[in-house]
Symmetry: C2
Subunit: 204 residues, 2 copies
């Protein structure tokens, strides 16, 4: 059975935290490349991707536009759901079909894939009462929400799902560990630079 996978996408102002290294046009192109990679990995893992975007976007999956912030937009989807749903972030450039298959195959009521910095990069929801809250350290909130409704919880230990790409320090991870559209796009413009002892990216 295929899993319905909602991928929220900020089509209006994508990847603002990359403003120091990418122009607005580049940020949009890079974000769309990552979205394309996520869509493909979701399909290869047996999921059915549906994009939940803040504005229209041209991408090879059905798009629903909802201009509201992430949390209420996702919670309306959850409130209307009649089957298990996964919510997977659009900037998981390192996500592979294998890493997503672990999410889809996990059997707990609520399966959480933590993101670096306290985020929740993916969640599989099998318990209709569960709601998301993406503010601040959302992984703590999601554990608490799941406990409060008496749901069983499993957390995935995945570097590939934990690494969302939204800050310049995340860009080396794409070049080091991924190989999709986003990697190609980035590798054309940037290279790994380890000259000052920390690994960063430098424009070619």
């Amino acid at each position: 059975m295929t899993v319905r996978v909602v991928v929220p996408y900020d089509a209006a102002t994508p990847k603002t935290r990359l403003a120091d290294v990418l122009t607005p046009t580049e940020r949009a192109a890079f974000a769309e490349a990552m979205l394309g990679d996520v869509i493909e990995s979701v399909r290869d893992a047996g999921g059915t991707p549906q994009i939940l975007a803040t504005a229209p976007v041209d991408t090879p999956a059905p798009v629903t536009v909802d201009e509201r912030p992430l949390t209420p937009a996702v919670n309306d989807v959850l409130a209307d759901a009649t089957e298990p749903i996964a919510i997977v972030m659009a900037d998981l450039a390192l996500a592979t079909p294998d890493s997503l298959r672990h999410l889809f195959d996990a059997t707990a009521d609520i399966v959480l894939a933590p993101g670096l910095g306290g985020g929740t990069n993916a969640v599989l929801v099998r318990e209709p009462e569960f709601r998301v809250d993406y503010h601040d350290a959302s992984i703590r909130d999601h554990r608490a929400i799941a406990r409060d409704i008496g749901a069983t919880i499993q957390e995935l230990d995945s570097f590939r799902l934990a690494t969302d790409i939204d800050d310049p320090v995340d860009l080396p991870e794409v070049l080091l560990h991924a190989d999709g559209r986003a990697t190609d796009w980035l590798a054309e413009r940037f290279r790994i630079d380890a000259s000052d002892g920390r690994v960063t990216v430098t424009r070619r």
Copy 2:
């Protein structure tokens, strides 16, 4: 069969990159707490820990002192090895027995656990010709070294092994995802702070 696990440890100047938030005494105490957690997790996963330290350290595992930098010290251990060896970093405060068991149980000649920022946080070496090179983006070097000697390679997808704790931005991960000595030590002194939109730690 138990796996021999070498844990390199900088006992002379531990965790210098945490100097902005921890005093030298605190850095030593925190580093020793993380080392204690790693030793316990290694044992619980079926490994036999041996500490390779730059200076004497009081810890519940056998200690070999080698003042040289990490790479030559580890490579001398590998050169003398007569059985598979794992090299596991001492600052993996999030490492669990399960995450280490995946390392020990993997069957490739060289099993790599990437660290954030291009590092190699753990490696299982079954091929006697393999040598480490921990400079810069070491994961790329380790892939190349393994390929050059014709070894099979497997990379682990583990958030817990990828997250080494050596920068202030890593500290929230300990409070959010771990529960050992290092977590207790840190939680007594710091709390999670998400007040400015990014998750950090603030002194109590």
